[in-house]
Amino acid sequence: MLVFAASRLLRAGLTILFVMTFAFVVLRLSGDPALLIMSVDAPPEAIKAFRHAWGLDQPIWDQYVSYIGHAMVGDFGKSMRDGRSAIQLVLERVPATLAITLPALALKLGIGIPAGIYAALHRNSFADRLTMAVSVAGFTMPSFVLALLLVLVFSVNLGWLPASGADSATNAILPIVTLGAAGAAIMARFTRSAMLEVLGQPYIRAASAKGVAWHRVILRHALPNAAIPTVTIIGFMIGSVVAGAVVVESVFAWPGIGRLLVSAVANRDLAVVQALLMVIAASMVMANFTVDMAYGWLDPRVRRTMVRS
């Protein structure tokens, strides 16, 4: 188990390295960073000073090493817009994002999973068909459309909920529902198909033929086995807890990471974009790692297989 954990950690670290390398490469490819970050008509001495300060006159390998070194400690420079430390700007916004994504995650799992299980157990019933129909709407509707529709109904027409801003808790309701609804739909669909796959297995039939009560068959045999593939999806959702609200935050003017990313991209505030990439990659990687560990604990087969490094 320890070997498994170690190899997964190594993989996590490599992914973060890869992301940062990607950022470095793309940054260098997209043009002279000095010209990008300072404006084109800055005086040549200022550009030269900038280059020197940032080590851009060094050979590319040295630049890369120093870049990674800075990234490891979270130093991405200052935001172009307000001169504050990029990483600080990013980290400040994380709680706001988590304030909507975590409740949304609870919604996704709390509604999606039971709905999926119920649909699987009562296959082809009305409830099943309804769940499937609604869930299809969940992943064909873009989040911004759902968001705007909810705003149209609940803010504009009914006036119950505020449409934007982050003044009070009621402001959070619509963003949470928007995020949660789409995820719940996907979760329901996926849980249903995982359950159906497991229910079709011979060992389920054997258990019930042995005389085990049906609810125990579900609880002790079907659910744990269906949980295994489901955990992968849940893992991705957990990983997206920091990064998954980009559009929704923009629609609701919610001051989280997503909104920061959009404005940083629009303003080409590259320091902030890089800091964001790092934070998002780190959070996804940590979530994946936790999920991998859970996977290893859930599925005895995984623990025993040879680990490829």
Binding site: V3, F4, A6, S7, L10, M306, V307, S309
Partner: protein
């Protein structure tokens, strides 16, 4: 008669990890460990042994499908070109293979007639019209009917599919056909038909076979010469009839004694040699004679010294330290 194919000290080792995780130790899997064979034109050499003894790997080495770690393969006097070069591909006209799973070896989307003609298209040996003609001729020779030409592999029975694979392999009139367990996946009644077909084709076309199998009854019927493999090495080799009548190596004796034969009243009591233990893993081949862990006659010399193939009279080669001792002949 000149040798068609000569293999010398063929060796194939694989580097594997012997444990779990990225820090596990390395070990060597010795799939084939110094095998030398000669196949003559128009004759059949059988290669027998347990699963995992390296028969299939030897077959692939002989065809040049995998590179040997050491040793050489010479076809018609010339060395085998490296795999996937143009020279290697041209050589495929003369060297072909038949597989254990005929369904897996065929493309499920193409009619079998097209697949039979494919070698001609690949080597550009006939005009498009001629190809159809030759395909039908060879189909007839293997016992397929003309209307099968447009059928798909999954529409045919197992025996018919194996005939398709044979037809495809023989259409370029190769000199050597490596048959890797060609009948293990077929029903027993079909096995007999395919075996007869192979013998018939050898008479008509003069093709040589390397017949790889773990089924001794069939090997006895089909092969002129037989080589017995154990853990990557040949332990005994010789004329098929003589070898099965009077096996010399203890392993061969155990194999032959295991062949079921109906007993009738008055027939002489056959030797029954039972082996103890499980076959060792090819990663962990015992020192000395690889068979000593299961041999009822093993001695200290067997544990220490690896026997080499030595002549045992009458064209037989045996790798055993104690094979010449007459006292062992009647131990059972």
């Amino acid at each position: 008669m000149t040798d068609l194919l000569e293999a010398n000290e063929l060796t194939r080792h694989y580097q594997v990890r012997s444990g779990r995780g990225p820090f596990a130790g390395k070990a060597t899997l010795r799939a084939v460990d110094g095998v030398s064979l000669r196949i003559e034109r128009g004759r059949t050499l059988g290669l027998v042994g347990e699963s995992g003894c390296g028969k299939s790997t030897t077959g692939k080495l002989v065809l040049g499908l995998i590179e040997p770690t050491a040793g050489t393969v010479r076809y018609a006097g010339a060395g085998m070109p490296p795999i996937n070069t143009a020279a290697w591909r041209t050589l495929r006209r003369h060297l072909q293979m038949v597989y254990q799973d005929p369904l897996g070896a065929l493309d499920r989307r193409l009619p079998i007639g097209v697949q039979i003609m494919e070698p001609l298209a690949i080597h550009g040996t006939a005009t498009p019209d001629e190809r159809g003609e030759r395909a039908r001729t060879i189909m007839d020779a293997v016992g397929l009917q003309a209307h099968h030409f447009d059928r798909y592999p999954h529409e045919l029975s197992g025996g018919q599919r194996q005939r398709v694979v044979l037809a495809r392999a023989l259409i370029t009139e190769p000199d050597l056909l490596v048959c890797d367990e060609p009948i293990s996946a077929l029903d027993v009644s079909i096995q007999a038909q395919v075996v007869n077909l192979l013998l018939d084709l050898q008479d008509r076309l003069g093709v040589a076979y390397l017949f790889i199998s773990h089924d001794l009854k069939v090997v006895r019927q089909v092969c002129h010469d037989v080589a017995v493999m154990y853990l990557g090495r040949i332990v005994e080799q010789g004329d098929a009839g003589h070898l099965f009548a009077e096996p010399a190596h203890p392993y061969t004796r155990a194999l032959v004694s295991a062949i079921p034969v109906p007993v009738s009243k008055g027939s002489p009591r056959r030797e029954r040699l039972l082996l103890s233990g499980d076959p060792p893993s090819p990663i962990d081949i015992p020192l000395g004679c690889a068979f000593h862990t299961r041999c009822p006659f093993s001695t200290a010399q067997c544990r220490a010294e690896t026997p080499v193939l030595r002549p045992h009279g009458d064209g037989r080669l045996v790798a055993c330290h104690r094979v010449d001792e007459p006292a062992l002949r009647t131990a059972a």
